[in-house]
């Protein structure tokens, strides 16, 4: 009698250990393809060439990250074999690359594959093959769908949710809002736009003007003039850095002074706010989840210091003012942490399980107060943002950290 009880107790204990994800001490060595006693193979695609090659920076920083992890002894004694391929932002090419990674190189998982159309192209395949497609580098909202795609997980707060937050803020704080929207005409722009419409709900009529531009356009001057003429008193700026800066500069130049909301994609002080002219961007509001390396308020922050040291030591030549490098570091840290927690059970199922078991994990360079939480039904690692307002030469956080429930 006593015996069975003890056995039940032990069983219960190990079950708890499994549930809390602490398998390191108990787990036997278990491997799927791509993992062994000595190495873990991870696949990655990113546009190092072609029109979207500016994103290549992220891939290079991630490579430097795994190199530094390996130099420090790897993860639980295993070296990371990180195979990064160039897909040129062409979805057809991504399929080729990913099939090579999964079937030929036999990676354990892919990590931070970049781009919405490119990830869409491999979404079904990865889930059919049951290979983890972790922490993809896109803000579309479709990556957190564990019911239909249990092997795919996003990372950053999705664009849709972010736009909902702005919409709610506008409705609550601005009287008689008349909204003018500038939008980049692609998937990313549309995600924001849908979110804005959803957030406004039946007040959607408050959008008095909606103009778009193409990535290939030289300027957005004429769009801004149209927005001014529409009589809008709120400006929602869904634009990538170059265009966001142009838009705010032009608005200032023609004397249009609406309440401005800027998407998180373009929060960089160095590459957006400064070129737009500090005079023109006072009071602009945005939502952020990462620390901006060019923002003076983080200069003394220990995590920022650590990042800068790491950058000079392991990623020399990369720009210290590029927020992409902060992003790459933070998401790689999360991946490292996830692998660490897998312990010796490096199966794909356990990897997904660990990725979906983060509980208020602090990832460096996220804004203070923002942590990573996931569960079997919540595949959105970073879901909180905080609003910030531009003041003199830096962003100033205000309000609370907002945990948005994504659609």
């Amino acid at each position: 009698m006593m015996r069975t009880k003890r056995r039940a107790f032990v069983a219960g204990l190990s079950a708890t250990a499994v549930l809390t994800g602490n398998r390191v001490a108990f787990g036997q060595k278990k491997y799927d393809e791509g993992a062994s006693d000595t190495e873990i193979k991870i696949g990655h695609t990113c546009p190092y060439s072609g029109p979207a090659s500016a994103y290549g920076v992220i891939g290079k920083t991630i490579q430097a990250y795994w190199k530094s992890v390996n130099e420090a002894g790897g993860i639980n004694g295993r070296k990371i074999n990180f195979i990064s391929l160039d897909d040129g932002y062409n979805p057809a090419k991504t399929v080729e690359c990913i099939r090579q990674l999964v079937e030929q190189d036999k990676v354990l998982c892919t990590f931070n594959t970049l781009g919405t159309p490119t990830n869409t192209a491999i979404h079904k395949y990865m889930n059919q093959k049951k290979v983890p497609q972790l922490y993809v580098a896109t803000g579309a909202s479709k990556w957190g769908d564990p019911k239909h795609f249990p092997w795919t997980m996003g990372f950053q707060p999705d664009y849709h949710t972010e736009a909902v937050i702005y919409a709610k803020y506008i409705l609550a704080n601005i009287k008689d809002a008349k909204i003018g929207v500038l939008m980049q005409n692609d998937d990313y722009g549309k995600d924001y736009w849908e979110g804005m419409k959803e957030g406004l709900g039946k007040e959607v009529g408050r959008v008095v003007k909606h103009v778009t531009y193409e990535v290939t356009d030289p300027t957005v001057d004429s769009q801004i003039i149209q927005l001014k003429d529409s009589g809008a008193n709120v400006f929602f700026n869904i634009a990538t850095p170059k265009f966001a800066a142009q838009a705010m500069r032009k608005a200032g130049a023609i004397g249009w002074k609406p309440a401005q909301f800027l998407n998180n994609v373009s929060v960089s002080v160095a590459s957006v706010m400064k070129p737009a002219g500090f005079d023109n961007v006072q009071g602009v509001i945005t939502a952020a989840y990462l620390m901006d390396p060019t923002d003076k308020q983080w200069e003394g922050h220990p995590e920022m210091k650590m990042w800068k040291d790491w950058m000079t030591q392991h990623n020399p030549g990369a720009s210290l003012s590029d927020a992409s490098n902060v992003f790459a570091y933070a998401v790689s840290f999360l991946m490292q942490e996830t692998l660490k927690r897998c312990g010796n059970d490096l199966t794909r199922a356990n990897l997904m399980h660990q990725a979906a078991s983060h509980h208020h994990l602090r990832v460096p360079l996220l804004l203070p107060g923002i942590t990573v939480s996931t569960s079997a039904t919540d595949y959105f690692p970073v879901q909180a943002v905080q609003l910030q307002r531009f003041k003199s030469e830096t962003w100033e956080l205000f309000g609370d950290v907002m945990h948005a429930e994504s659609s």
Partner: protein
């Protein structure tokens, strides 16, 4: 065609049919991934074949074949997505739609020669991805999000994997198209096409309706490339405007020049070459950097470029022209 080379060709085709069946024996050498890669080579070969009909045999330059490829791919994707059309039926549909688009584009192209035609087709290549995103077409094309499809399944319950079947599917389509092109070029019309290429005015004087031939050739060329696009939609199981950038046209052009302008076999070689080198260039560049330890940060495209320059220098008439030249020289000596 000489009897001996026909024998070789038949042996090659027979081998191509046997290879996928070796999968149970050699699972690593004949992996699903490799079969898929060869399928993409055949698809590229068909597209290059289409371009060759226009440029190599009719003397019209096109930088816009990515547009016809996109038209074919989207025709197939929309038919499968909206109308649940079986995948094999999308090929004739894609061919017809691409033919019409190509023919219509061929009409104004009649007034343009050489560089001007190149520019006009360049504009076509640039505009098609934008048109696919256009809001009135968005319901149909899925806009920037594209259309997600399913891969073709083997018919009649054949015990083949999806990739094995895809291989056969592409192979059969390629052989039919190759045969059709070879016959066409061997006919009166084919000779007319080439006569126009060689000396436009002379062809005119001989009574060839040059404008008709030129526009129809444009249409046929577009149809070939459209079929390749439709095949790729099935193979990749996804279409999006980003897949059909102007760079794709350059790919076809590279395949054409490298394989051999005005050579049918060259088109096939060119298609294979492009996919092969495109894939190995990156492996080569990492090899140079990490294994040879050279401190050159060569991008994959640099390697690709160097290979192209070398090739053009050594075999200015393309691989097929170069190889036959070498064989001829060996026989003579």
């Amino acid at each position: 065609m000489a009897a001996s080379s026909r024998k070789w060709l038949l042996a090659l085709v027979a081998a191509a049919f046997v290879v996928p069946l070796l999968q149970p024996l050699l699972p690593d050498a004949v992996s699903d991934y490799r079969l898929f890669l060869v399928s993409t080579m055949m698809i590229a070969a068909i597209a290059v074949l289409g371009l060759n009909l226009l440029t190599g045999f009719n003397g019209q330059i096109s930088l816009g074949h990515s547009a016809f490829y996109a038209v074919g791919a989207y025709t197939a994707a929309i038919l499968m997505d909206k109308l649940d059309c079986p995948y094999w039926l999308t090929l004739p549909a894609a061919a017809i739609v691409s033919f019409i688009v190509g023919y219509l584009f061929g009409l104004p192209a009649l007034r343009l020669e050489g560089h001007y035609l190149a520019l006009a087709t360049f504009a076509l290549a640039l505009s098609v991805p934008q048109i696919l995103k256009y809001k009135w077409l968005e319901d149909l094309t899925g806009g920037v999000q594209g259309i997600v499809l399913s891969k073709p399944e083997p018919p009649f319950g054949l015990p083949l994997s999806e990739d094995q079947w895809l291989f056969y599917y592409c192979l059969i389509v390629m052989l039919i198209l190759y045969w059709a092109a070879a016959n066409m070029l061997n006919s009166r019309s084919g000779r007319a096409m080439m006569a126009i290429r060689d000396y436009h005015i002379a062809a005119d004087t001989m009574g060839i309706d040059t404008s008709l031939y030129k526009t129809v050739t444009f249409g046929i060329s577009a149809a070939y490339t459209g079929i390749a696009g439709a095949l790729s939609a099935s193979a990749i199981a996804f279409v999006a405007p980003d897949s059909f950038s102007f760079f794709l046209s350059i790919k076809f052009l590279i395949g054409l020049v490298v394989g051999g302008v005005g050579s049918l076999v060259g088109s096939i070689v060119g298609g294979i070459f492009y996919v092969l080198v495109d894939n190995s260039a990156q492996a080569l560049s990492t090899y140079v950097k990490s294994d040879l330890g050279l401190q050159f940060d060569l991008s994959a495209y640099t390697v690709f470029g160097i290979l192209l320059i070398l090739l053009m220098y050594l075999m200015p008439t393309g691989i097929v022209g170069g190889v036959t030249g070498v064989i001829r020289r060996l026989r003579r000596s």
